[in-house]
Amino acid sequence: MATHALGLFETPSEALAAAGELKGSGFGQPSVISPIPLETAEEVLGEKKSVIKRFTFFGALFGGLGGFALAAGTAVLYVHPTGGRPIITWPPFLIITYEMTILFGILATVIGFLVSARFPAFRDRIYVPEAAVDKFAVAVPCEDRGVFEKAEAILRGAGAGEVREVTE
């Protein structure tokens, strides 16, 4: 049960500045909660690495191999010659392969997204509904009251209209 200091800002630049300051002041990783994606967040909070692309890649790979295997395998499983074509017919099977590559690429991307962004999450977490409208919130974990006050000072100093203490 960690306590967080959460400051609400009117503008993204203020919020990012506050987050940068917090990060620079030895606090834990601050998170910025915003109604819109902030392009510059990474510059302030450090670059993020995402595993999604690996999901996508391996999903697509699986889909491709699986797609071909499906087409070729079922053709061999129950041999039904049609139209003078070989049983394993490359070009049409490549189309199946292609579609399956994309299908599994998409599905894996979704899974990757859910996993890496830790969704779905229906328990209570740090959140302010205003941040879904027009407020920009900066939250930072605080071990105790002292740290919270320090964080609050920084937040207010950066222009936070309101600082709340929230627990996760």
Partner: protein, 827 residues
């Protein structure tokens, strides 16, 4: 568990209801009708479930008399094939023959004896038992006979042959009447008259198409509806491609292209009624060019003098060069064959024309030779049947007798003159004067609808009979017609009905047989005893007889097809056929006590006859040199045809032709025949009037425009169809549709051209000159539904039907069919 309040509950119920309803509808929409599988706890004795049984019998869809083999399963007829051992059909069959099953299983059959309770034609029918029905007719006939008025009974039947004709004759003798009348619309009276005039024979000859090298047909649709189309088809195929490097050629001379015209190598359009004149011009050419060297050449030259090709060119519409060329080829090719059919014979000059055409065979030396005209021996049974065939004139006499009250009872058997005679004949009105009309027909046709009493007959697949085909195949052949299924309904064999009536009316008469089968057996015993070996009773003799029958059948086939590849296999074929029908043996051996049964030789013969379905004598008619009487030669000549109606008022000559599918209308109640596209026009389910495209354009008519076809005798409405191969001043129309009765498939469909024909007759035979009526076309401005199965009948240079010229084999050798490797490297 969540609580559900009333609203939710109702919502759920509503949703569930809608869902169930939709699901139910969906289910209903896609479900199959329930059908029951009926097991056989006690299997019937006469067949094994799952095993097909084949019965040989005779087709009676037209008068050709093809032998057929009917496949039955579980006691039901499934398929008709040609009987391979039968000399006429040789295993082949035409579309109409195939559709015979729908005669048997027709939904519109008369299923039980009926009595008309209302006025004639009112259609108020009261079902009767056979006892009641038979006693009604026997009672009336008995009265007439005992009062010495037996002669007032008339039996009007479709043509009968073989021993059935004998039965009919004896029946009439029993009643004491001589009014046995056969009526078939297309009975070849003119051809018979021509044969009689030229050669003194009363048999139709055998036209050996299979061996001919050059056939000139004058309006004879030998492949479509003329005499024996299946046998002609066999001959045509063999002459064309059945002989090595020796292809017969075919010429057709007629005003409107028939099926045979389409098949011909050369189609020559000629003005209707002038076919005989063309034949005479050909004869003139042959004689004048020295192609004929007989003793009577001078007589011929004298008789033919007025008919030079140049002289007739304008009258016939055929160029003189064409006539000369055909004549030269005809005389120079041997064997050649000239045939004349309904197109040429159904004119006021019909007999003269057919005489002229048939005489060509005499001049070219085609008589009695393979590939020519072969005379048929007299059939074993049924002599005198031809004399019973009524012409149009004799039908008019009959009608007159009816009007005058000289006919008290009319028994109609399958004949339908009300439909197949022109309205001008007034036959319907005349028949209505007859006090009692009894119909033995299986269907409610136009004539039967007028009857007071219907005693329905079996269809031919349920009935007994026999047949000696006419025209024959150059030697004696016959076949037994036997039931292939048990009767579907409460109907009777025609023969049985007549025998029962005869027995009731005149118990002391000559007709003693109880059933048709018994009658036939007795008749065939006579044939058997004539031919049987002297020693009887031994097993060997029986086998010999059986084998002989088979052999005879085989020889028949071999003889009919001497040059075909298949001919060598013919005995094997015949044997195979017998083997094929072997399962039927159980069905025909009816002796109740096999253990104590000692079959006599005739039983064995009879059984093998039933099995083989065919009987033959390997003999040809004795053929001496044929001479033509000098008076005949002197009299030879063909007058210009006479037409009813003036050419000013009625600019078109109407050519009603027998439909390939419906024949004279008797096939119109068969759905397969209604659905079979007419070969030349692809029309189904209807009538049409064929007209030259150029003429149609001048008249502003398009396909499907309804016109009133008006003759001096009446008017019918029919849609127009442009037909590229018809002369501009000729219109043609198929016979067969336009029924007012005759069941759900036929009635109220199309129009009947016979109705408006003028009563124009050929003077010698009195037969109807049905091609001799002029008509005019009055556009109605309406459109009719002309249903065709074809799209565009032009191939647009796509090479769908490829052709080659004879003698160019080398050129085509390079384009020989390759075995195409499958080069479709995937997809």
């Amino acid at each position: 568990m969540a609580s559900i309040d009333r609203r939710d509950f109702l919502k759920l119920v509503g949703a569930g209801g809608v869902g169930t309803g939709a699901g139910f509808m969906l289910r209903e929409a896609i479900k199959h009708p329930v059908e029951n599988l009926v097991p056989y706890p006690v299997p019937p004795e006469d067949f094994s479930p799952g095993i097909a049984t084949w019965y040989n019998t005779v087709c009676s869809m037209c008068s050709a008399g093809c032998g057929i083999t009917v496949r039955t399963r579980e006691g039901r007829a499934k398929k008709i094939e040609g009987n391979p051992s039968h000399p006429v059909s040789q295993g082949r069959l035409c579309a109409r023959g195939q559709a015979g099953l729908q005669v048997l299983y027709n939904p519109d059959r008369v299923t039980t004896p009926l009595q008309q309770t209302g006025e004639r034609g009112s259609g108020d029918w009261l079902p009767l038992t056979w006892t009641e029905g038979l006693s009604q007719i026997s009672g009336r006939l008995g009265e007439l006979r005992s009062s010495g008025q037996g002669g007032a009974v008339c039996l009007l039947s479709e043509g009968q042959r073989g021993h059935m004709h004998g039965l009919f004759e004896q029946f009439m003798a029993n009643i004491g009447s001589d009014r046995l009348v056969y009526y078939d619309y297309d009975h070849p009276h003119p051809l018979l008259a021509a044969m009689n005039r030229l050669f003194g024979t009363s048999e139709l000859p055998y036209f050996d198409l299979g061996n001919t090298d050059y056939l000139v047909s004058f309006g004879a649709d030998y492949l479509g509806s003329w005499l024996s189309p299946v046998h002609h088809g066999l001959g045509f195929g063999r002459s064309r491609q059945g002989r090595d490097h020796h292809r017969g050629r075919f010429v057709q001379i007629e005003p409107r292209m028939t099926l045979s015209g389409a098949a011909a190598d050369e189609w020559i359009a000629a003005i209707p009624g002038t076919e005989g004149i063309i034949a005479l011009a050909m004869a003139n050419r042959i004689v004048s060019q020295g192609g004929y060297q007989g003793d009577d050449a001078d007589a011929w030259a004298a008789a033919l003098e007025p008919y030079s090709a140049d002289a007739v060119a304008e009258q016939t519409g055929v160029a003189a060069e064409t006539i000369a060329r055909v004549a030269d080829t005809f005389a120079g090719t041997g064997p050649s064959l000239a045939i004349g059919g309904d197109g040429a014979g159904r004119h006021s000059n019909g007999v003269d024309a057919l005489t002229a055409i048939t005489a060509l065979n005499y001049l070219a030396g085609n008589l009695g030779i393979e590939g020519g005209l072969i005379f048929n021996p007299e059939p074993v049974a049924g002599q005198g049947a031809a004399a019973r065939h009524a012409s149009y004139r004799s039908m008019l006499e009959l009608a007159e007798d009816a009007r005058e009250g000289r006919i008290q009872v009319l028994i109609v058997n399958q004949a339908n003159p009300v439909f197949t005679m022109p309205a001008a004949a007034g036959i319907g009105e005349a028949l209505a004067r007859i006090p009692l009309i009894v119909s033995l027909s299986s269907f409610m046709d136009e004539t039967t609808a007028m009857a007071d009493l219907i005693l329905p007959s079996h269809t031919y697949l349920e009935a007994w009979g026999d047949d000696f085909p006419e025209p024959g195949v150059g030697f004696r052949a016959g076949a037994i017609s036997q039931p292939v299924v048990s009767p579907l309904y409460d109907t009777r064999d025609t023969g049985d009905t007549l025998l029962a009536v005869a027995a009731a009316v005149n118990p002391d008469g000559a007709l003693t047989a109880a059933t048709t089968e018994e009658y036939l057996r007795e008749q065939w015993r006579a044939i058997f005893e004539r031919d049987a070996p002297t020693e009887e009773g031994t097993a060997q003799a029986q086998e010999a007889i059986a084998a002989e029958t088979v052999e005879a059948a085989a020889e028949v086939v071999a003889q009919a097809a001497p040059e075909d590849d298949a001919a060598a296999d013919a005995p094997a074929n015949a044997e195979a056929a017998v083997a094929q029908v072997a399962p039927a043996e159980g069905a025909v051996a009816t002796n109740p006590d096999p253990a104590g049964w000692m079959p006599d030789a005739f039983d064995e013969f009879w059984n093998s006859l039933l099995r083989a379905g065919v009987w033959g004598e390997n003999t040809r008619a004795e053929q001496g040199p044929v001479t033509v009487d000098a008076s005949v030669i002197d009299a030879i000549g063909v007058d210009a045809p006479e037409f009813a109606g003036s050419s000013e008022t009625y600019p078109f000559i109407l050519q009603p032709y027998l439909s390939l599918n419906m024949h004279d209308g008797s096939g119109a109640n068969l759905p397969w025949m209604q659905e079979l596209p007419d070969p030349l026009t692809s029309v189904v389910y209807g009538s049409w009037l064929e007209i030259n495209p150029e003429t149609a354009r001048e008249l502003g008519l398009r396909d499907g425009d309804l016109v009133d076809v008006e003759s001096p005798q009446g008017t019918i409405s029919v849609p127009v169809l442009t037909f590229p191969a018809i002369m501009p001043n000729v219109v043609a129309m198929p016979v067969g549709q336009g029924h007012s009765e005759f069941g759900r498939y036929a009635s109220g469909r199309g129009a009947n051209p016979i109705e408006i024909l003028a009563p124009q007759v050929e003077p010698e035979t009195g037969s109807l000159a049905w091609n001799a009526t002029r008509v005019r076309l009055n556009p109605t401005g309406r459109r009719a539904n002309l249903v065709r199965t074809s799209g565009l009948s032009r191939d647009l240079g796509r090479g769908i039907i490829q052709t080659t010229a004879t003698g160019e084999a080398e050129e085509h050798a390079s384009t020989k069919l390759r075995s195409i490797p499958i080069t479709v490297e995937p997809a």
